[in-house]
Amino acid sequence: MKVAYWPGCVSRGFTPELHGAMAAVAPLLDIELIELDRGACCGAGVIAEHNQELADTLNARTFALAQQTDGELMMNICSTCQGAQSECQERLDANAEYREHVNATLAGGGLRYEKGVVNKNFLWVLVEEIGLEQLRSLVKRPLANLRVGPFYGCYIVRPASRVGIDHEHPRDKYLGQVIEALGGTVIDYAGSHKCCGFPIITMNKTASLMQAGRHIGDAIDADADCLVTPCPLCHLNLDLQQPLAAGVVGRELGLPVLHLPQLVGLALGLTPKQLGMGRHIVKPRAVIDWSQSVVAGAAA
C-alpha cells in the first residue's frame, strides 16, 4: 500500500534511528512511503497551548499536503503527532465555517484541506490495514522468549473517543497484539498506559524523571527484557534520560527501549544494526544478544 508518510520532527532529529528503522521495515511490509517533507511540526500540543488556530492551520497544511499525494491514507510514526493532529482535525472537521477560515490562510500557499483525512499511526496501520494474520506470516525470526513491555504513552490512547478507541478498534491493546503476533511475550506492568513525563522535563524535572523511572522500574520488576513504544518523545524520556531517571528513583535501571518499527524489523529478519539500535543510550544488549543467539540457532 502507498501512504502519505509523516515522520514528524523528533524521528529525524533526536531519534534518527526511528526514521531509519521505518524506512528499512516499510518494504518488508509492502508499504510505499511518500514522505511529506514539506510538512511543518505538529506542535506537540505546545503550539496549540500557545495559539490554537496556529496549530490547526499548520496541521491542516500537512493534511492538505497528504491529500495531494496518491497515498491511500496518511501514516505517522509518532504518537504525539497522532494526538496533536487528531485534536486539530477534530476541530477542523467539526465546523465548516472554521475550516473555511483556516483554508483561507492556506490558500496563500496554494493549499486546501478537505474534511476527513485518514491519519493513522504505524501501529494502527499494522493492525487495521496490514492485519495481524499477515504480520504473523511475515515473521522470519519470532521473538520467542523475548519479554516485551508495551509502552503506549498518552497521546495515542487518550482521549479515547478522539483517538477512536471502541469495541471494534481496541487501539489501547494493539501493542500487545503486535508483540504477540511477532512471537514475543507481553509483559503486564503498571506504567504501560501512563505518561513518560517528557512534556514537563523542562518545567518540573523531578516529577518528569520520576514518571519515567517508575515505569521502567515496574517493567523491570515484571521481568521485562525491553520496552517498545510508538512514540519518539516517550523514547527520549525513557531512553535518553534513563540514567538521570535512575538517579531520581534511586535504583539501577538499564532497560532497553525499542521503537515500534525496530521491534517489527527484528522479527522480520533485519539486524539490530540495520535498525540503528546502536544509537540508543541504554544499549539494547539483552535484545541484541537475544537476536543473535536466535539467528545462530536458526542457522544451525
Binding site: C41, A94, P159, A207
Partner: protein
Amino acid sequence: MAEFKLRLRRYDPESGEPPYWDKHTVELDPHRSVLDGILEAKDSQDGTIGIRCSCRQGICGSCGVRINGKPGLACNTHLDEALARGDGQEIVVEPMGNMPVIKDLIVDMDAVHWRKIQSVTPWLLPREPVPEREYLVAREAMVDVTQSMACIQCGACVSDCLAMEVDPLFTGPAALAKAYRFVGDPRDSEHYERLRYVAEDPHGMYTCTHCFKCVDACPKDVNPMGQIMRLRRIAGTDFEIEDRNNGFRHEHAFVKNIHRNGLLHEADLLPDSYGGKFDPRALPELLSSIPIVIKGVLRGKITPTKALLHPHKASKDVRAIFERIEGEPARYELNLYVTGTDDPPLQGAGDADSGAATEGAKR
C-alpha cells in the same frame, strides 16, 4: 433482571487489617446504576460497606469511585455498561486514587481535593465599586466559562491525574479548572494575580504533563486539561508572565523554533527553554545534561553539525501562516463544547455535543 457480580475493595484503616476484596451478587435491571448495585448489596447482604452518595442522579458529585479501572460516578454508570468495560465477568469497584481511603469506597476529599480547590481562591473577586444592581456582562463573554462551571467536584479527575501521582503537591486538574473559571470571568478583578499564582507555584499549572487522563475521567465533560492550556495561553501570551518554572520560556522557545525552522530544532530548544544559551539559568541545566549529550554524540544521536547548523528552514508559506495568525489582535478559538459539531464526523472524531452550528468562540 439480571445477575451482576460485584467485587468491592474493602479497607478500614482503623482496623489495622490490610485491604481485601469482597464479592457480592445482586439481581437488578441492567440499566440500573452501579451505585444501585452497591446499595442493594449493602441493604441485603452487608450493612458495613462504606460508600458515599446523596443525589443518586449525577448532580452532587459524592459517589466518585473507580469502576473496572475507570474513574467516574457510581450513580450514572449503568451496570451493563460497567460490565462491558471490564472482562465481562464482574464489576470491580475501587476507591478513587491519589486520595487516602477513609473507609472502603470513601476517600478523604478534604485532605486533597478541597484543599487544592481552596488554594485557588474559588470565589469571585469583583471589581470595585460593586454595582448597586446586577453586574451586566455580554452573554458571549460568559459562554466560555460554562464548561469549567459544569464541574460538580466529584474528584474523578484528581483520582487519575498522572502528575499528581508523582507530585502530590500538584494543584491538579479540578482546582486548575476552577482557577480558569474565574480567570475567564470578565467580572473578576484579579486575573493577573490568579495567573501569577498558578504560574509561579513550582507545583502549579506548569506541572500538568498533558496526559489527557482528566479529560477521559470527567463525567461532566469539563476538560480540565483544556482549561489548564487556556490558563497557560493567557498567562504566557496576554500577561507575559515569565514564571520561574520555565513554562513561559519553554512555550515561547518552542513556537519561535518552529517559526524559524518549520521542524523542531532540538539543539536550540533546551537552552532556549531556559532563556537562551547565554542565560545564567541555562548553564546548570546544560551542564547537567552534558553527560547525556556526550553519550548522544558518541552514539550518533546528536551530530555536532546538526547541533551547530540549522539543517532546515521554515518555508515561506509556513512563515506566512505564523505571521498572519500571530499578527491578529485577538485569537480565534473554537471550543467544541460550546459550538458543537455542524458536520457529522467522518472518521473517529470525538463526541459531538448536541446543538446546532453556531459561530466559533472568538476571543
